[in-house]
């Protein structure tokens, strides 16, 4: 596998995983459930 293909694959995978984790963060930090846990 050539270097630029390796880098491109890595960058794409990183972007997908990064966006995935970011969506997870946004969803969890804003969900109503948190207030149930932390505002008893």
């Amino acid at each position: 596998m050539r270097l630029h293909i390796k880098l491109l694959t890595f960058a794409m995978a990183l972007a997908v995983c990064g966006i995935g984790f970011l969506l997870l963060d946004v969803a969890l930090m804003n969900m109503q459930g948190l207030s149930l846990i932390f505002h008893k």
Partner: protein, 605 residues
């Protein structure tokens, strides 16, 4: 083993006797069940009223032979809990290993499961004896507390005694019937007994957890402590489930570490290569079980701590921001030791395969990250300083290291430690394999990207929300951090299983080819776990401060003060030593039971 059974039965009868005493009429001093006057007609059921929690004085605590009551109860409760945790956990993974044996038809699993349960059978007798001792010491030194609690939990205490009988029956049947119930339907019957044993054991733990959590977060009583009569409300109190979850996971990790120590002991004393290979394999499995349960354990602990805060901010602040805060530094050191020793054992174990050489270069980087995270974890928020040092520093907080003393830094550190421990495990898993799929390199690149994105996300959540937003977000950010770690583990395992589908093995694993020093890592794991449980258990109980039952029943004994941390650490350390003396006895008994002496010329031919 017969003598062991007798010990078990003695303990059992002691508990049964006391349980019967509890349910006999007229034993409760508070007249919890004061029969109301019958109505004139005589056909109205008697109303049941309960007295408020008693207001005690120092005279209400009997002094027996100059023994310190608190110390006696503390040590007995701690020893009982360690053994109970062990004997509840071992059947869980024995059941799983036996099921794996049934599925794979590999007899080695069945033999290993049997050896695990053999160790726990002696420990079970000791658990019963120590449980009896705890009960006696509670009745002797804290009779009013015991009577008040038994008034509320009379039903569950009776069920506890009955469940204990059922547990004993199931355990003895499971152990002694192991070789009898072999093959076909019989094996399934045996496995079902194992399942019942676990269900009963878990039930016992849940009941005992209800009693102790009631003392922390009472429910089913009014502010004066008058019981409403609804025992389920008292059982299902605010902290019951957080403790249930935390203890269930912790027990498995703890049980794994103790049987790991047993395997290490047997490995070091083994004389043949075959024996060494067997106990190496056993030690690996025990360590694997301990790591599997250790990974989610910090999250269960964090959930419990968050719930304690949610129930009572005062209790929460006492827990981690007040007098007990420094014990959490010791906790961090011990948990760091757990992670380091578990990783070290895995790295040593990679010597079993020649293919591991491909990954040994990465170990030093994993070690650097683990040590870095370990240092962050045990950095204190407020330093203990002399006046001169305070003056030189300009306050109790270090300007650079101070920010590492708060929870967002600790959460970030623990998540990073878990991810890198998982990475060690992943390397171990791959060590003896060569992937044959065409997209292996692409798969590896995706794995690297997944780990990188996860670490960046954990650092972002820890730094941004931990230091640049308000406290609610600071606490809330721990949840996506945990889930990020969780997702990395799950996705990575799935991806890895596809990459290594149809893979080729480099050679047979050389079980027994592991340095002896790796076995000491297993001992370290067991000792750290034990000490950690003792210290954290003390904190959990100690945050009640001068209350027997928080805000309901005040402790008026001369020992109602919170001892110094040094004293508490000494008590737990001495208890840990006593526990290990008993554990060595258990290991020795297991060894003795399988050895035979042929006395030449002693018996008539």
């Amino acid at each position: 083993m017969k003598s062991v059974s007798k010990f078990g039965l003695c303990g059992l009868f002691a508990i049964l006797f006391l349980a019967m005493m509890l349910v006999l009429p007229g034993t409760d001093q508070f007249g919890s069940q004061v029969a109301a006057q019958e109505a004139a007609s005589g056909d109205v059921a008697p109303a049941v009223t309960y007295e408020p929690a008693p207001k005690l004085t120092a005279d209400d605590y009997p002094k027996v032979a100059g023994v310190n009551g608190r110390l006696a109860v503390w040590v007995c409760a701690q020893l009982h809990l360690w053994f109970a945790a062990f004997v509840l956990a071992v059947p869980i993974f024995v059941f799983i290993i036996e099921a794996i044996g049934i599925r794979t038809r590999d007899k080695r699993y069945d033999d290993m499961a049997y050896e695990f349960i053999k160790v726990s059978i002696t420990a079970y007798s000791l658990t019963a004896i120590l449980g009896g001792l705890l009960l006696f010491s509670l009745i002797l030194f804290y009779p009013h507390v015991f009577t008040y609690l038994s008034t509320i939990f009379s039903g569950s205490m009776l069920y506890y005694a009955l469940l204990f009988f059922a547990e004993s029956a199931a355990l003895y049947l499971y152990y002694y019937g192991w070789h009898w119930l072999q093959g076909g339907l019989r094996k399934w019957v045996h496995l079902t007994i194992g399942l019942m044993l676990n269900a009963i054991g878990t039930g016992l733990m849940l009941l005992a957890n209800a009693w102790l959590t009631f003392m922390m977060s009472p429910a089913g009583v009014d502010p004066a402590g008058v019981f409403s009569g609804d025992e389920w409300a008292a059982i299902h109190n605010f902290l019951w489930n957080p403790i249930n979850i935390h203890r269930f996971v912790a027990n498995i990790a703890y049980g794994g570490s103790i049987v790991g120590a047993y395997a290490a002991f047997k490995f070091l004393t083994a004389t043949s290569h075959q024996e060494k290979a067997h106990y190496d394999w056993m030690g690996y499995n025990a360590n694997f079980i301990a790591i599997c349960a250790l990974l989610p354990l910090p999250f269960a602990g964090y959930y419990l701590a968050a719930e304690i805060y949610a129930y009572s901010q005062q209790m929460g602040i006492t827990l981690m921001g007040g007098i007990f805060a420094w014990l959490f530094i010791i906790q961090a050191v011990l948990i760091g030791t757990l992670f380091l020793s578990a990783n070290y054992y895995l790295w040593c174990g990679m010597g079993r395969s020649t293919g591991a050489k491909r990954y040994t270069g990465y170990m030093k980087y994993i070690a650097i990250v683990l040590v870095g995270a370990f240092l962050v974890w045990f950095t204190p928020h407020t330093l203990v300083l002399t006046n001169a040092e305070l003056k030189a520093l300009g306050g109790p907080h270090h300007s650079i290291l101070g920010p590492l003393g708060i929870m967002p830094a600790k959460n970030t550190a623990v998540n990073v430690m878990i991810i890198f421990t998982f990475l060690s495990f992943l390397f171990y898993r791959r060590a003896n394999k060569v992937a044959t799929v065409s997209w292996e390199k692409t798969g590896n690149i995706i794995q690297v990207a997944l780990f990188s994105a996860a670490i960046v996300n954990i650092l972002f959540l820890g730094i941004y929300h931990g230091y640049y937003t308000n406290t609610v977000y600071k606490v809330a950010a721990s949840i996506p951090q945990v889930l990020t770690t969780f997702f990395v583990i799950i996705i990575s395992l799935i991806l890895d299983s596809f990459i290594y589908r149809g893979s080729r093995e480099i050679g047979p694993l050389r079980w027994g080819k592991i340095p002896e020093r790796a076995q000491y890592a297993l001992f370290l794991l067991a000792v750290s776990f034990t000490w950690l449980m003792g210290l954290m258990g003390y904190i959990r109980s100690g945050i009640r401060q001068h209350w027997h039952v928080v805000d309901i029943m005040r402790d008026a004994s001369p020992d109602a003060f919170t001892p110094t941390l040094g004293y508490a650490a000494n008590v737990v350390s001495v208890a840990t030593i006593i526990f290990f003396v008993l554990v060595i006895f258990v290991f020795w008994i297991a060894q003795v039971s399988s050895s035979k002496t042929l006395p030449a010329g002693y018996w008539k031919e």
